[in-house]
Amino acid sequence: MSVETTAPVTEAAVLNEIAGMLRVLLDEYGLDDVEITRDTKFHEDLELESIDLVSLSADLKERYGNEVNFAEFIAGFDLEEIIAMTVGQLVDHVVVSLRAAARG
């Protein structure tokens, strides 16, 4: 599955979608009313473990297809850096990847 490229890719839209994926993940832990912004940290604020980021990565792949390669994005990070990541960093990566794909 790949994202529709007719609509411009906006940061706000991507943030909204990623926040939705995170809420589904957090719901498993009984947390359903967490505020998610660009500055939210995956580990510090959401208490997500590395295994949760595996789930998120799979969700991203399902939503955006191969145009967004989370595994490649984080290949240069070590585990501690990955869990210290903010939602905004991920949003930026998705936006940049989708815009590059839209340009062909």
Partner: protein, 266 residues
């Protein structure tokens, strides 16, 4: 999330197919993580993507009780972990022999499967791991006892938070809980074992150790008893080989799989 029913266990699996064309069938490499604080994330964020990019069919999964797989209260003998892996291969319809990469306890599972079902295993790649011999059960009993007494104390968890970071502290607390709510501590030390002469292991073995970890003392033992064995000892390195020496580990294993694969690996 990808969950499949393997035997009676709802199992979290992440499979990465090869991302480059491969002549013939891609070699299948199954990655088995370690006990307590570990999950398939340790491979997903280290070796997994690189192997898929090199033409390998990558299978990563969470062991029973770990990550996002089921956590039954009982049934944590090594042979249960081995049976889970057989059930997983069956559920994924993988019938040809696979390469097993096992980290720490995951390596013991790999040796266990190679001994119990040699027809399912092409090679074993053991990272900082011991074969499940009698002496191993004694060391596991001691290690698990210590883990349970330590990781269930708030003061210890606080110390870990200061010295190893909050993520490790949280994983350690979860590990303490895992030992409290399951029979792992009771089951693992009474697991089925293999003979000390390692005659049950007939496939080629690549064993990777950190020089500073006590486990590297096994090198002469492996080399004299295993019929086909290559050992790699990384200098100035303790037990966390996979996380701290990812690149060297990746290169050693990819080279090994290339040497032992029927299909060409890029």
């Amino acid at each position: 999330m990808t969950k499949i029913l393997a035997g009676d266990l709802d199992t979290h699996v992440q499979r990465l197919p090869p991302t480059i064309p491969v002549d013939g069938e891609a070699p299948v490499v199954v990655f088995i993580h370690g006990l307590l604080t570990d999950s398939l994330a340790s491979y997903y964020f280290t070796l997994g993507p690189a192997f898929a990019a090199a033409g390998v069919d990558v299978v990563m999964y969470d062991l029973r009780g770990h990550g996002k797989s089921d956590r039954p209260a009982t049934g944590y003998h090594l042979e249960r972990f081995v049976a889970d892996l057989v059930a997983l291969l069956d559920a994924l319809e993988i019938t040809r022999p696979v390469h097993l990469v096992g980290n720490s306890f995951g390596g013991s599972i790999a040796f266990g499967l190679a001994a119990a079902h040699p027809e399912r295993v092409a090679t074993v790649i053991a990272i900082e791991a011991e074969p499940p011999v009698q002496a191993w059960t004694v060391r596991m009993a001691e290690g698990l006892d210590l883990a349970k007494s330590q990781l269930t104390q708030d003061a210890v968890i606080d110390w870990i938070a200061v010295n190893n970071g909050k993520h490790t502290a949280r994983l350690s607390r979860a590990a303490g809980r895992l030992l409290q709510v399951t029979s792992m501590l009771e089951d693992i030390p009474v697991s089925d074992t293999i003979a000390d002469d390692l005659s049950a292991i007939r496939c080629p073995v690549l064993a990777i150790f950190g020089a500073d970890s006590g486990l590297s003392r096994q090198v002469p033992y492996f080399e004299s008893y295993l019929s086909s064995c290559r050992t790699v000892v990384l200098p100035d390195q303790g037990h966390s080989v996979l996380i701290e020496r990812t690149d060297e580990t990746r290169d050693a294993i990819l080279g090994w799989v290339r040497d032992h694969a029927l299909g060409r690996v890029g």
